[in-house]
Symmetry: C2
Subunit: 252 residues, 2 copies
DNA sequence: AAGTGGTCTAGACCACTCG
DNA sequence: GAGTGGTCTAGACCACTTG
């Protein structure tokens, strides 16, 4: 733990600078799984910050799951790997970039429609409200990977049809042009078999194994902003999750 | 926000008492999605605690995803439901109980074996180290739902073969008798088709859609303690996840 | 201007773990 | 007994939002 780490003039909070510094040590391997992290008092003394600030840095690492604390013993690097970001909410484009693949899209349709019942229910709209529907075949390195049908409410994204270039990233457009940021999504995955039409688009056998996903995305304030149905080739797609065992909240 | 909420003699931390009180208001519906939660200063003044303590209570609710804060505006109840705990790490027994179904198990084999390469790699063991393998057909309300093969290292759970009743919950046994608690698990799901043997055990058609899961469970200190392979009927199983969009950690 | 959350300080007492 | 994390206090300054 160096002494020259902190820039007190910076707008970056002190606790965050400390957090980043420790993060770097974990990433680089200077701190390995099981190693003790500098204690709150040590950070406090060495970097001349209050103990609460040191604590906040450690707490944030703890929340990220990178370290864990034991009362009376200390704080230690946990066994989890940094490399894998499990089950983040990523758009298709982002996911492909992260894997180092080149994403491409073939647009099937991009049009205004009246919300079918299932979509209206998921997005909390009145039946037959106006939505924009975008159907795309998604490719990774020129191989068809999935068929994706996205639905967004027209009223949240007016003029999307005119302004959006449907081969681009929708999440970026939402953030840049409309200031609406996706915070989380609920997703349901099913194991199924390809229909003839799907098989043709994905260039796989009829009845080959596929994943069917339905995903509803929400903004921080809990508004439903996107509903997606997608079909992924079973042989080119695995769903990786990290499950955590939590304390019960609010239960009796 | 009442005044009689806090018990200052209690061993329960003040921030936790405050958190529980707010939680109750959200659960009961007194505070609805979008409603502002009492501000830090209000809690601080009304309950005569320091602002940092009030803040800690709100922070913990924030980490649970039940409220969100906006600088300069306030803290608000988020749109998420309390009812659904998405994608917790649950054992089969726990999952069925939560759904209100009756779990049952048919034990196929329960025996010591030498770890095959795949299992040894997942559990970080030497090849051919001693493990205990348990193969079960799992039933919900008397319908076969999945075939599950569990592997645990013998050295972590000595005498498991003698003491454990294999129709019971393994996670409970681990916690009760060995003091080893599962903290999280990494899981990979694939969409596939049933083999003839699997089809027979699950009473489904040959080549019917199934999920294949492999799961490695870890304790808090990052030790791998369990490796499970399972096959679920595709028509009786959906994988529900909540995905969150996080800040990048440790990236460039 | 008033109210909000975000950060920070310099102390304090406690329960716990370990040698 | 020395060191650890868990909790708590009573202040402070800041940036941000809203009327």
């Amino acid at each position: 733990m160096g002494f020259e780490v902190l820039d007190r003039q910076s707008v970056v909070p002190l606790y965050f600078q400390i957090q980043q510094h420790l993060l770097e040590q974990i990433r680089s391997g200077s701190l390995k799984a099981g190693d003790p992290v500098p204690s709150e008092q040590e950070i406090s003394a060495r970097l001349r910050v209050s103990r609460m600030t040191a604590r906040q840095a450690l707490k944030s690492l703890c929340n990220l799951g990178l370290v864990y604390s034991q009362r009376g013993k200390g704080t230690f690097v946990s066994g989890r790997k940094l490399e894998k970001d499990f089950r983040q909410l990523l758009s298709f484009s982002e996911e492909m970039h992260q894997r180092g693949s080149q994403p491409r899209s073939k647009v099937l349709t991009f049009e205004p429609v009246l919300a079918p019942a299932e979509v209206a229910a998921a997005l909390h709209l009145e039946p037959n409200e106006q939505i924009v529907r975008l159907r795309r075949v998604r490719l990774a390195d020129s191989i068809s990977v999935c068929i994706e049908t996205t639905h967004v409410p027209e009223k949240l994204f007016p003029d999307l049809l005119k302004s959006f270039e449907p081969t681009q990233s929708l999440y970026e457009e939402m953030a840049q042009r409309y200031g609406i940021r996706v915070a989380y999504a609920d997703e349901v995955a099913e194991a199924s078999a390809a229909t003839p039409a799907e098989a043709k688009l994905l260039r796989i056998r009829h009845k080959a194994p596929v994943f069917r996903f339905t995903r509803t995305a929400f903004s921080v304030d809990g508004r439903a902003i996107e509903f997606v149905k997608s079909v992924y080739r079973g042989d080119r797609c695995k769903v990786v999750s990290r499950l955590t065992r939590q304390v019960k909240i609010g239960g009796r």
